[in-house]
Amino acid sequence: MDPVYKVLDGFIDFEGQKLVEQISSTCLVAVGLVSLTVGFALQDLVYTLYIMGAGLILTMLVTVPPWPFYNRNAPRFLGVKTEKDE
């Protein structure tokens, strides 16, 4: 079951988490602004709705799955201490 859990959990490293935070907030705010402007300019709220929906799906696709570039900075742990070292 380990590989299944690995896919479902989708763990990413600390740098990756920081990146996800930045990408998702900027993308969603941008989507909101664009949808507002387009809806107002074309005088039709349907565009606002569709742009918001599409923006959410795209942001989710980029940030939710554990893409490899979120796992480039794996934390380095100290080696196991043995009696010899002391």
Binding site: L8, D9, G10, F11, I12, Q17, V20, E21, S24, S25, L28, V29, V31, G32, S35, L36, G39, F40, L42, Q43, D44, L45, T48, M52, L56, T59, M60, T63, V64, P65, P66
Partner: protein, 216 residues
């Protein structure tokens, strides 16, 4: 943001915040658009007749009904913008009635829902339009005495997001809220007497012409 599920939840939660803010801005932006319109309206005929209204399958009590026919011209285009779902338009009549009991009366005699789509007409030109709803006094009989009534055209803008907006369309000529003043009295008699008078005049004119011809 360590696992996929927390990322999904956090991003969706931030999305709801963004969506709510967008909706708020849209709601506020609808106040930017001016809603100034004018209308002209007049009463064609008023007919007052006793009758019984069908109420939930049984006949209501016998009472006086005013049957009104009116003209109405207005351009609703300024009420429509990107946040307008539909406009509810209604014509109200206010009249004094019995000064002791029911002094101020307002009755909706006609209404219309104008949805915001390409098909609907935003310019209205109604001629000799019959009132949609029965118009009767609460006491069953229109009080004798002061029967001066006023006609107003009011609207309710129903938006996609935001607050409902109520308003009254002003008269094109006077700029007041009242489109027309009229008296809640049977106009049929007055028209009849006018018609007979006209017939009389016509007969006299033809007679005069004939005598003229004879003279020639």
């Amino acid at each position: 943001m360590h696992s996929s599920s927390t990322r999904f939840q956090n991003i969706f939660s931030f999305f709801t915040t963004v969506a709510f803010t967008v909706a708020g801005v849209i709601a506020l932006s609808s106040f930017v658009f001016p809603t100034h319109t004018t209308a002209t309206g007049s009463i064609r005929t008023v007919q007052i007749a006793p009758g019984r209204q069908n109420q939930y399958g049984t006949l209501g009590r016998r009472q006086e009904f005013a049957h009104i026919k009116f003209d109405l011209h207005t351009d609703l285009t300024p009420l429509f913008h990107y946040n307008t779902k539909q406009v509810f338009l209604y014509l109200t009549t206010t009249y004094p009635g019995d000064s002791n009991k029911y002094a101020n009366n307002t009755v909706i005699i006609w209404d219309k829902i104008v949805p915001n789509n390409a098909k609907s007409k935003t310019k209205l030109a109604l001629k000799n339009q019959r009132a949609k709803y029965p118009f009767n006094d609460i006491s069953g009989k229109f009080a004798s005495g002061d029967r001066k009534a006023e006609l107003r055209l009011e609207y309710n803008i129903q938006p996609h997001v935001g607050a409902l907006v109520w308003g009254t369309i002003k008269d094109a000529d006077t700029g007041s809220n009242i489109l027309a003043d009229f008296v809640l009295e049977d106009t049929a008699k007055a028209i009849k007497s006018k018609k007979s008078g006209k017939a009389k005049a016509d007969a006299e004119a033809t007679k005069a012409r004939e005598t003229l011809k004879e003279d020639l």
